[in-house]
Amino acid sequence: MTIRRLLGALTVIALVAATSQTINGFSTLGSTWAAGNITMNMQLAGGSGLTDGSANFNAAATSALSIWNNVLNRSRFAAVNGNAGRGSDGDLVNQVFFDSNYYGNSFGKDTLAITTRWTLGGTQRVEADVVFNTAFQWDSYRGNVRSNNTWDIRRVALHEFGHALGLDHPDDHGQNVSAIMNSILGNLDNLTADDIAGAQSLYGGGVTGNIAFPPRNEPNDFFNQLLGVYQNELRAAQSSTYVDPEGAVIWLTEYARQRVGQCSHDTATTNTLNQITSNGSTLVCANTPAGAIPFPPRNEGLLFMNQLDNTYRDSLRRAQGSSFVNNEGAVVWVLEYLRYRLNGCNHGDATTKVFQQIRGQGIQPVCRA
């Protein structure tokens, strides 16, 4: 076999390997709602005796809103029962209803439902109307799509409300994933991990977290003692910083709480800095699994600390100050203090163990196995 043939064969193998991969990833429409409630006026008429027991079509579609709400944080749907019947377009009111046409335009014979999105400046969602085509028979049921031309309003609503949130069809953008947001809907009748990831990329998800962090005064006390150690024992020079000691402790602790709550560095940083600048949510990404509590690596903590410094300087317009504990020292030792605390040590023991490390006595054992 010549070199050329060998390279050709290797290329084919590489191409086959590449084309057999499954790409994961949702797709978004590039616009989101402002934080807060997304009010949806439910104006679907009728729907008695639905298969899944929903009281009527409004209830079935509202349950689809609730399913999305379970994974949303920054913005959530708020269903309001309105008068059944046609809504109005271009009025900045979100309406969900049946009709035989879309505001005077025919659906086209094979169109089940339509969602429009109105945006201001290209990125700010301001209206979404969802219209279901009365040319089709509707029910609300789970499982495989029925072969009798009766369509499941809840799964169609799940898809349309996904558009209302700002999600696009992943399969129209080169993705190969299982998702209710795919352009061709099959027997899937609920959200998938990809749908949830897409919604949370736009509006954040979250839980309150299952790991208790120490009360604010204790890390503050630790940091004050740390300042003394740096100044008096290490004879550290003062370093410039825009973050005051209390701010450093509070926000490093919050960043750590987000990381322990399964958030990535980027998400944890965003969530934490949003709390500083715009009263962002304090929810974390997920409960921490049983076992060792994960802590972020030092470099990521330092990245956060540098961004915190910039936020204090640029957003909070704080004056430059100085501290005996430089940013790196703050990150390393506050996170280390918290690591001891979350692993069974009380305030005094955790403080002592950190200072033993600073004094060269090595990493100390945590207080529970």
Partner: protein
């Protein structure tokens, strides 16, 4: 009879493992051709959006003007305009998710339905638009509305090719032959 055919189509789709599209039931190639009043190849030469009053408020529409290169079914003038719901005027945008959008210079095969005042003038909403691109040898090739390589008419609609599948797009001339053949077959019935 027409109702029966419609049910038959849906059952066929279901049995093929394609339950539905959330918004649109994907057409087959045969449906695409038979449902179209006009099928033409054209280049978008002008795209402009404007506000319109509707019976229940207001909306934005986009008028796309095409320079028609070839007509495969029905009749179309040398310059033909189609009207799509949605568009951008100033800071305000109205988008119907899935509505085809066009840029000047883009060439397409358009399967235009006969429905008056439809949100999308195309058969199957977006399925009735196929993109035309020249390959490195200057041969016109056909892609689906979302840019997938269309290997054959059988891949229209629900059977569209996987994005990851490397297929040489069919020639525009081959699609023309298939369309004209289907049009003739439809007349013969």
């Amino acid at each position: 009879m027409r109702r029966l055919l419609s049910l038959s189509l849906i059952c066929t789709l279901l049995m093929a493992g394609v339950a539905s599209s959330t918004t649109v039931i994907p057409p087959t190639f045969e449906t695409l051709v038979s449902s179209a009043n006009t099928i033409f190849v054209g280049e978008a030469i002008d795209v402009r959006s404007e506000w319109v009053a509707t019976p229940n408020g207001r909306a934005i529409i986009t008028k796309v003007t095409f320079k028609v290169e070839d007509v495969w079914k029905g009749a179309a003038g040398a310059v033909t305009q189609l009207e799509f719901l949605g568009g951008t005027v100033g800071e305000m945008s109205m988008e119907v998710v899935g509505m085809p959008t066009f840029h000047e210079g883009q060439r397409s095969v358009l399967f235009v339905s006969g429905e008056a005042k439809s949100m999308s003038p195309l058969v199957g909403f977006w399925h009735g638009r196929m993109r035309v691109e020249k390959d490195p040898n200057g041969v016109d090739r056909v892609r689906t509305y979302d840019g997938r390589s269309l290997g054959s008419p059988a891949e229209v609609g629900a059977n569209r090719p996987n994005y990851m599948t490397s297929v040489t797009p069919m020639r525009l001339s081959d699609l023309e032959t298939a369309v004209r053949g289907r049009v003739l077959a439809g007349r013969a019935r």
